[in-house]
């Protein structure tokens, strides 16, 4: 008897047992289930949930690997022993820093999913597959692992399971996890130290009296919010050789991933395009306000308002959020017209938060969470509008 049959008999035996969902999770991960329905006509799409999720994770892998290189590169750069970007030194350092984040995110998140599947007695859902990969990419690399676990538990339980699990959540779980960290442990999520690996540690050493040079770990947005200049070129910003959360820095790779997701029809191009439009419009508005001379140079909003409007697209987590989070099919708008409105407002509000709230220089997280809440409302009015339009046409015809 082959392994496949053996596993199948185990499954038969386990019917109704508590551990079955946990077993099945592993089983369907390794093999295609052989259950088929026996009645009715069914249309079977090749892109089931698992395949969709795998595609997104595939699109995230380049960002992850780039993030490892960048973590090492930024660390050595800041500590005054620069290495080549694509060097083994940089990669190895980053690998050892980022891998624990990935492992903790998956182990804790999937642990909760399996636990809930067992309690509720349903199959383990694949929902955490993408979230688990997103989470390590959107946190500062030095975040303590226990904080990450607490946030993941919170995000999966409060963000997803209490609404009924995968596909029922109203807010993006990865963003809930980030927002939780952001509000719970702000010293690890904002400021001018956390974005370069080792900078916090160095600051603590200095505080305890060690004679070492301080290291800055400031993001460009952070510098701008403080009204300071920064020393990165547009080239650096676009390709991602800048400090930031692990996987969000390279707009180039995110753009490629976005094209891949659009090509495979997994993410909505409408949301991406309209979000970019929204950001550009808001950026242009701010530039216009500055050019009209309504803001003095002494204003605390001046540097961020004066940022060239399209630079906003390649700064901070905007690109990452728009490509991977705003397009989440569960929490975004479902109707085509709704997607335009939803995406546009995400872009628009992201830049607004960025400029007007220097305490939270990264606006895209809050903008997406906010629009997640409004997505069903937008859809409702789009559908109602459609219904009204059709009723009018019928009346015109029959009259």
């Amino acid at each position: 008897m082959g392994l496949k049959e053996k596993l199948h008999t185990i499954k038969e035996k386990g019917k109704g047992k508590k551990w079955l969902p946990a077993f099945e999770a592993v089983h369907t991960f390794l093999y295609t289930p052989n259950e088929t329905t026996h009645s009715g006509g069914h249309i079977k799409g090749a892109d089931d949930l698992k395949r969709t999720m795998t595609m997104v994770v595939l699109a995230l892998i380049p960002c992850l690997i780039f993030g490892m290189f960048n973590t090492g590169f930024q660390h050595f750069q800041a500590f005054g022993e620069p290495v080549d970007f694509f060097s083994m030194d940089a990669f190895w350092y980053g690998f050892l820093k980022v891998l624990p984040l990935v492992v903790v995110s998956y182990v804790v998140g999937l642990g909760i999913e399996v636990l809930f599947a067992i309690i509720k007695g349903h199959e383990v859902e694949e929902g955490y597959f993408v979230t688990g990969m997103l989470v390590p990419l959107i946190v500062p690399v030095d975040i303590p692992l226990w904080m990450l676990s607490v946030a993941v538990i919170f995000g999966v339980v409060i963000g997803k399971e209490i609404f009924g699990g995968t596909g029922m959540n109203i807010l993006n779980p990865a963003l809930i996890i980030r927002a939780f960290l952001f509000f719970a442990y702000p010293t690890w999520m904002t400021g001018d130290k956390v974005w370069v690996s080792g900078a916090v540690e160095r600051a603590n050493e200095m505080a305890s009296g060690a004679d070492v040079a301080g290291v800055s770990g400031e993001t460009i947005l952070g510098s701008l919010a403080q009204g300071r200049d920064f020393a990165y070129s547009v080239y650096d910003m676009f390709f991602g050789f800048i400090p930031g959360s692990v996987g969000e820095t390279s707009t180039f790779l995110i753009l490629l991933a976005g094209l891949f997701l659009i090509y495979t029809k997994i993410a909505s191009w409408r949301i991406m395009v309209s979000a970019v439009l929204g950001a550009l419009v808001m950026g242009l508005l701010f530039n216009g306000v500055v050019n009209a001379g309504w803001v003095s140079e002494g204003s605390k909003f001046y540097s961020l308002m004066n940022t060239v409007f399209w630079h906003h697209l390649i700064l901070g987590g905007f690109a990452f959020g728009v490509v991977f989070m705003a397009t989440d099919p569960v929490t975004g708008s479902q109707t085509n017209k709704g997607k335009w409105i939803y995406g546009f407002l995400i872009g628009f509000i992201s830049i607004m938060i960025r400029v007007f709230n220097p305490a939270y220089p990264e606006g895209v997280m809050l903008a997406i969470l906010l629009m997640n809440v409004f997505a069903p409302t937008i859809d409702h009015y789009v559908v109602q509008g459609n219904v009204k339009g059709r009723l009018k046409r019928i009346k015109a015809k029959t009259a």
Binding site: F180, F183, A184, Y185, P186, T187
Partner: protein
Amino acid sequence: MGLLSKKDAKLITDPLADNNPITVQVLGICSALAVTAELKPSIVMAISVMFVVAMGSTLISLIRNIIPPKIRIIVQLIIAAVLVIIVDQVLKAFAYELSKQLSVFVGLIITNCIIMGRFEAFALANSPWRSFLDGIGNSAGYGIILIIVGFFRELLGSGSLLGFKVLGDSIEKTGLYAYGYENNGFMLLAPMALITIGIIIWVQRSRNTALIENN
């Protein structure tokens, strides 16, 4: 119980769990979110509400037969207002710091749905002794939730209980903090109070499935 008949005892025990004003009737949420960032104000708030509801219910019940039905709400409000002012003045006189912390929420006890609810639904139709017990029971049910929420918010948010640093000193890095533990600032914000109450409701309903509404 020798002191209370079974029926009377139920007046006190029911609101503590299966008919809790906050988690089952979902009343008085507003103040439960606002004052529970620390344990001490939660306890003071619980006691204040208990005083107002118990005394108010008794007073309303005593005069229930002479209140003209048309102006009964006004009468109830006046009684509640008088009692709230007494509480407010006592707090200001003997616990000024606390009363500043509770700020407007002591005054707002008057608009607490639990108070009007008990006056209107119970005290107007029952004897003073039963009304008193009902007031005690309901405000105790309210208070117990406040104290649970306050306990967790202060413990996880500030690492202390009633001001004592039970988890160690977060600045000098003693106790748990020496191992890298940090306070959860989110617990001090109102959304986390709502989520904490939500979790209490979740736990309560999974223990007692009769409370789950069927739609």
